[in-house]
């Protein structure tokens, strides 16, 4: 029996060599698919034979159509006589329906598992776009972009389905979207028009779509970036492509559409917020349109603390570059200082911003003192990484606002100042700081003191302890560069420790008085020997 490949090869030869009379064999070729389409689940990477055959078949079909296109037989407008026109129209119909619709879109859209065939189909479709752009224009060399084909691809990709098609989107994004300016341009335009269409081929409330969208736009090689290095995909792109404003509008609309999607997952949401200030806001026509979105994220009491932090970043960007008015900024900022704050992943990003916000020398001491005191309080439960990044910040703030020095040094309590000290010597000091007050102007933190920092001077990590001791020394340093301290975490600390050379050998301490003579208590023995740990047993 002839193998599949031989059959296909025979048909291919007959079509290419035999001329128009054998064109009916194209139908034979497409009918091969029917055998496989009966059971879609069998089309996956494990069935190597099937995949091989399908891939080969598709490839051959493309080759045939490419040959036809070169002969201009796919473009009816090129027909010289009526007979030809009928043939060309038939061929074109075949190409559009039998090949593109039935094969390519079908396989892109309907295969549920991740497989290589779909990826191949995308590649071939993109080749088709190139082919169409070259040969389907009204006349040879005319500028043309087959936006309908692209639109169809978008629909297939973004169409609602339960299958995760992100691998295809990533493939498309990496190989075409991020490389070609015209693809980007038409993609955005088409997507926008699709969103606007009343019959709505694309359902917005799909959590997958946001993911696809992110996979497409989360990069730095955009159409409107000055330094971006982009090619043009089609040979003769239309002049319309130069219209940057149009792209921006489309891009902006698409973003807003995506953001209004309420099925967006938390992860995606955070992802969007992290890239917002760098990759989105600068590319929008009217960035202020994001204002509502951001303020909502920031003000919403129910939203996650990390969402707030991230929204703050974008919000600041808007305030900074677009003069956004934001009332009660510092009060809301102060509200962010909750117990979890220093345990979040986005800690360093936040600390950077805080440093920026509090750098102004026009802030009132009450406000600055409140922030300092609150940060110090949070340090009591913070990780060494957080402590190490906050302490220099406090140092800088004290240096910037010398009035706040009273937080670490109250002259009234210096024993040498006999007159003052004798009065307060035996009186218990009541801390006036109100931790629960939400307005940083009236917490009365300036009359408190930073005992927390003194406690940190006996931190278990020797380096952290010595960093805390900078507050004991004269304030000679101008300020600390916060960036140097932001990247510490347990891992880097540990690496640092383990990298240390063995200078002094580790000392043993086997003193029975302090350590006991046994590790744990025995389960059954009633007599209590001195043990190392009291609440654990074997």
């Amino acid at each position: 029996m002839n193998t599949f490949k031989e059959q296909v090869d025979d048909l291919y030869k007959s079509i290419v060599d035999g001329g128009a009379k054998n064109y009916n064999n194209i139908l034979k070729l497409t009918s091969f698919y029917d055998n496989y389409n009966k059971d879609l689940s069998s089309i996956n990477d494990e069935n190597e034979d099937v995949m091989k055959n399908l891939r080969y078949l598709t490839h051959i079909l493309y080759k045939i159509f490419y040959k036809l296109a070169i002969k201009l037989q796919l473009n009816p407008s090129m027909a010289t006589n009526e007979k030809e026109a009928i043939l060309y129209k038939w061929l074109r119909k075949n190409y559009d329906l039998n090949f593109k619709n039935k094969v390519i879109y079908y396989y892109i859209g309907n295969l549920s598992n991740e497989n290589s065939l779909s990826l191949d189909c995308i590649d071939i479709l993109m080749k088709c776009i190139e082919l169409e752009a070259t040969f389907f224009a009204s006349k040879m060399g005319a500028s043309y972009f087959p936006n309908k084909t692209l639109q169809k691809l978008i629909i297939t990709l973004f169409n609602e389905s339960n299958d995760d098609k992100s691998y295809m989107v990533t493939h498309f994004s990496e190989n075409y979207y991020q490389k070609y300016a015209d693809v980007q341009f038409y993609f955005q335009i088409e997507l926008q028009s699709l969103f606007e269409e009343s019959e709505n081929n694309i359902k917005l409330d799909s959590n997958l779509n946001a993911g696809y969208w992110l996979a497409l736009v989360n990069h730095d090689n955009n159409y409107d970036d000055k330094e971006a290095d982009l090619d043009v995909y089609v040979p003769h792109p239309p002049a319309l492509m130069e219209n940057e404003g149009k792209f921006k509008t489309a891009f902006e609309n698409n973003w807003l559409n995506i953001l209004s999607n309420d099925k967006i997952t938390n992860e995606q949401f955070k992802m969007i917020l992290t890239i917002l200030h760098k990759r989105v806001i600068p590319r929008l026509n009217q960035p202020t349109k994001l204002m509502d979105f951001l303020t909502d994220c920031y003000d919403n009491k129910e939203s996650d603390l990390s969402v707030k932090l991230l929204a703050l970043n974008g919000l600041f960007n808007l305030m900074h570059t677009f003069n956004l008015e934001y009332p009660n900024f510092y009060t809301k900022l102060y509200a962010l200082f909750t117990e979890e704050l220093l345990h979040l992943k986005y800690r360093s990003r936040f600390i950077r911003l805080i440093e920026l916000f509090l750098r102004s020398s026009h802030l009132s001491i009450n406000l600055v003192a409140s922030f300092i005191k609150k940060m110090a309080r949070l340090l009591l439960t913070a990780s060494p990484g957080a402590i190490v990044s906050i302490l220099p910040l406090i140092y800088n703030l004290l240096k910037l606002h010398p009035n706040c020095m009273i937080l670490i040094h109250d002259p009234e309590y210096v024993p040498k100042n006999y007159e003052l000290y004798d009065k307060v010597k035996n009186i218990k000091f009541e801390d006036p700081f109100d931790l629960n007050e939400s307005d940083p102007e009236i917490t009365d933190a300036i009359n408190s003191s930073l005992w927390e920092i003194d406690t940190l001077m006996s931190h278990y990590h020797p380096n952290v302890a010595s960093l805390a001791k900078i507050f004991k020394q004269p304030f000679r340093k101008l300020n600390y560069n916060i960036e140097d301290f932001l990247d510490w975490n347990y891992k880097t600390l540990l690496e640092n420790e383990l990298k240390r050379k063995i200078k002094i050998l580790p000392s043993l301490d086997l003193d029975e008085n302090t350590k006991g003579n046994k590790l744990f208590n025995n389960e059954n023995t009633s007599e209590k020997k001195k043990t190392y740990l009291n609440t654990i047993k074997w």
Partner: protein
């Protein structure tokens, strides 16, 4: 036409004064000139005047501004430069001459006696006479004063006042002071003598006149008084001496008798003694020689009493404690003086690497002692002998796998014995390389312990004892090989971290807890910095902070970590924020979740083996443990912190919440209440004064007050930067500089001058010499010439005769 040239002007001036252009051609005029010569003085004056007026360069006019007007008035403001120079030159010349005359004449002896110094036109005889007279006068004066003194003292001292000779050396009444004399004279009395000589015409008794009047004692009198007293003492002493001499004489007389008695006994024993000594003397040298090579006797270690032993132990403990405290404060270098320092030195040179370590190990292995033995209690040894076969059979397992294979053949109960046998058969002293094998074994036992605790059956209570014993073995081994295990333990820490990064759940195992326990048990956890403890601490706290405490099992794990973390800090009291964080998280969990805590169960310690088999009913036990550990942290570590109030602020609301939630369970409610009241106590005690971290020594800032000049003159230059004192100092400095410069110049000038003179002298000397030689040669030549002439004459004469 202006006469510009100096010469022209001079001529004109001379003509004006009639000194120029006159020619005394005739004799008459010569006579006239003679007459004129009488007016020479005036003429000379005039010439001088003209010369002065013409020679501008020879004059200096003083700076009028600076000079005092009065001084100016007196002095001729215009002094001749040449005159000055002349004077200077002369003075210089004189000093030069004097110096020259004095050269090579140092250390001359100057006789300062009367008539020897300075001018005295006296002959030798007269000198002697004068000296005699002076002596007489002096003696008389002394006598007079002596008499007067006697009167005033009312004859207190019956002084014998014999004649006092000035040169009498035997005189007892010497002042007692040593005086420099020359020729019997006090060197310093010359002046007195001269004075006396001048006054020699005065009547002698004049001196006594004022001494008749009663007066205060002169110094001299006081001195003589003292002398008199000392004389008396001296006399008494002499008396005593005499007495003693007499007694001695008496004794001496008796001595003869004693001696005679002694002689009779001595003769008996005398001879044999001498013989012995002779023999001894012969042997002596040999003995000394042999003894020299003998080992010196050293005192043996004394057997100590029990109390002394205790004291010694205590001393050692104290020493260890002291070292630990130093380490706690971060002072390392004082630990083990020599070894440590050596290590540090090596470090400084950057020589510390693996090779070095290997060498060290090798050295250690070369000289193993029985001190290196790892000794267990005897009882167990005996027990072991029965069950386990011959010890020589065992190979020391180098990996954990080997050990498992080895132990497979024995019942669990004998495992410990097997391991002990292995250790005994590989004591370092028995064979080379055993040391390293035992090191490996330490690692293997460490791994085995972790392996056992992870795989052990939960209900297998008996094998627990094995664990205990293994821990003891491990501790014993680590005591010896702790330094060599550093890399191994650090590697384990790293692998724990890697596992944790991969999956947070993967490290929630009993072995993790055991790992930290063993480290804490063996190492000194109070150190400021410790190679193993510090990374372990980081790891413990990382776990405490990053693990999600949403299940009972995780909380249990956290509670165990919490206790270890607190235990590490029992001595050093360091603060770990993560402990507090964990406690808040854990309490929050108990507050929020609806955990079945209905029935009240007894408190039970957490079981390490059952870590992964958490039952629901255990939650109350975990909560109790949590509270217990929290209380401990509170009392051990946090209590001492300044921010204890703030820590309590974080805890208290949560505890209250917990209290309200679990009111029904009595034991829990009680312990919560206890903690809350504890917190209240601590708060009440704490004065909580604000910090004074910047209490540094005050640094003075230079205070600059404005200075007002009363009569400010804008033209004058003011130096406002300097204080008046500084100004003065600067002025003086300047002056010194100027003067020293001037002086140097002067010195150079002088030396140049003297040099010139010397060269001149030398030249003249040489010239004189040459001239002299010339003259001599000339005379010789002339003499020879005349002689030759004579000879020629004679010759000619003789020839002529012929």
């Amino acid at each position: 036409m202006a006469k510009n040239s100096q010469l022209q002007r001079l001529k004109a001036k001379l003509k004006e004064n009639g000194l120029h252009g006159v020619r005394y051609a005739s004799k008459k005029s010569k006579q006239k000139a003679k007459i004129l010569n009488k007016e020479d003085d005036s003429k000379q004056d005039r010439i001088q005047e003209i010369r002065d007026s013409m020679n501008v360069f020879d004059k200096t006019s003083k700076n009028v501004k600076k000079a005092n007007i009065l001084v100016n008035a007196n002095n001729n403001s215009q002094s001749s430069m040449s005159e000055k120079r002349q004077l200077e030159y002369e003075s210089k010349l004189m000093s030069y001459n004097v110096n020259k005359a004095n050269t090579n004449k140092n250390n001359t002896f100057k006789d300062n006696r009367f008539g020897e110094r300075g001018f005295s036109g006296l002959s030798e005889e007269e000198k002697i006479l004068e000296r005699y007279k002076l002596e007489q006068i002096k003696q008389f004066e002394e006598q007079q004063s002596e008499i007067a003194k006697d009167f005033t003292l009312n004859n207190k001292v019956s002084g014998r006042k014999g004649k006092k000779s000035l040169y009498n050396l035997d005189d007892d009444e010497d002042d007692g002071m040593f005086k420099l004399t020359h020729g019997g004279h006090d060197l310093f009395e010359d002046e007195v003598l001269i004075e006396a000589r001048r006054n020699k015409k005065r009547s002698v008794p004049e001196n006594t006149e004022d001494e008749v009047v009663p007066r205060k004692k002169t110094k001299k009198e006081v001195m003589s008084e003292i002398i008199a007293k000392s004389k008396q003492y001296k006399y008494e002493r002499q008396e005593r001496q005499n007495e003693m001499n007499e007694q001695i004489m008496d004794l001496d007389e008796d001595f003869e008798d004693i001696l005679s008695e002694l002689k009779s006994t001595e003769k008996k024993s005398g001879k044999p003694k001498e013989e012995n000594e002779n023999i001894k003397f012969n042997d002596y040298d040999n003995k000394v020689k042999t003894l020299q090579f003998d080992k010196r006797a050293a005192p043996q270690d004394r057997v100590l009493t029990e109390k002394e032993l205790q004291d010694k132990e205590e001393e050692e403990k104290k020493e260890l404690e002291k070292q630990r405290e130093l380490r706690m404060r971060g002072i390392f270098n004082l630990d083990n003086e020599d070894d440590e320092r050596l290590d540090i030195e090596k470090l400084d040179e950057g020589f510390w690497n693996d090779e070095d370590e290997d060498i060290q190990e090798g050295e250690d292995a070369d000289v193993p002692d029985s001190d290196d033995d790892i000794v267990f209690d005897d009882k167990e040894k005996e027990k072991g002998n029965d069950n386990v076969e011959d010890i020589s059979k065992f190979e020391c397992p180098s990996t954990h796998k080997d050990l498992l294979l080895l132990l497979n053949g024995y019942p669990i109960a004998e495992h410990v014995d097997v391991i002990k046998k292995i250790i005994q058969s590989h004591q370092p002293k028995l064979a080379e390389g055993n040391d390293i094998k035992l090191q490996n074994l330490t690692k293997v036992i460490f791994q085995h312990l972790q392996f056992l605790i992870d795989t052990m059956d939960i209900n297998d209570d008996e094998s627990v004892e094995i664990l205990d014993e293994l821990v003891i073995i491990f501790v014993k081994l680590i005591e010896k090989y702790s330094s060599k295990l550093v890399d191994f333990l650090r590697g384990s820490i790293q692998s724990l971290q890697n596992k944790f990064e991969e999956s947070h759940e993967s490290i929630i195992k009993p072995s993790t807890i055991l790992f930290f326990c063993l480290i804490g048990f063996a190492y000194s956890t109070s150190d400021h910095y410790h190679l193993i403890v510090t990374p372990s601490l980081i790891l413990i706290n990382e776990f405490l902070e990053q693990i999600q405490y949403n299940t009972l099992q995780n909380v249990k794990f956290g509670v165990m970590l919490l206790e270890i973390n607190c235990r590490y800090q029992t001595l050093s009291k360091r603060y770990a924020p993560e402990s507090l964080y964990f406690i808040t998280k854990a309490i929050d969990m108990f507050n929020s979740k609806n955990i079945a805590l209905q029935k009240d169960s007894d408190y039970e310690e957490l079981s390490l083996r059952k870590l992964l088999h958490t039952k629901k009913g255990e939650s109350i036990n975990i909560l109790k443990n949590l509270l217990l550990n929290m209380e401990k942290s509170l009392s051990v570590v946090w209590k001492e912190k300044v921010a204890i109030n703030e820590i309590c602020d974080i805890l208290e609301p949560r505890l209250q919440k917990l209290h309200t939630k679990y009111q029904t369970i009595d034991t829990l409610a009680d312990s919560i209440k206890r903690i809350v009241s504890n917190i209240d106590d601590i708060r009440n005690e704490n004065l909580h004064h604000p910090l004074i971290l910047q209490n540094h020594r005050l640094i003075s800032i230079p205070l600059i007050t404005p200075k007002f000049e009363d009569n400010f003159n804008p033209d004058k230059k003011y130096n406002n930067d300097l204080s008046p004192q500084q100004n003065e100092i600067n002025k003086l400095k300047k002056q010194i500089h100027k003067e020293s410069k001037f002086q140097l110049k002067q010195f150079r000038k002088d030396s140049k001058f003297s040099q010139e003179l010397r060269t001149k002298e030398m030249i003249s000397d040489k010239q004189a010499y040459h001239e002299k030689m010339k003259r001599i040669v000339n005379t010789i030549n002339t003499e020879e010439g005349s002689e030759r002439n004579m000879y020629e004459k004679e010759k000619r004469l003789r020839q002529g005769k012929k």
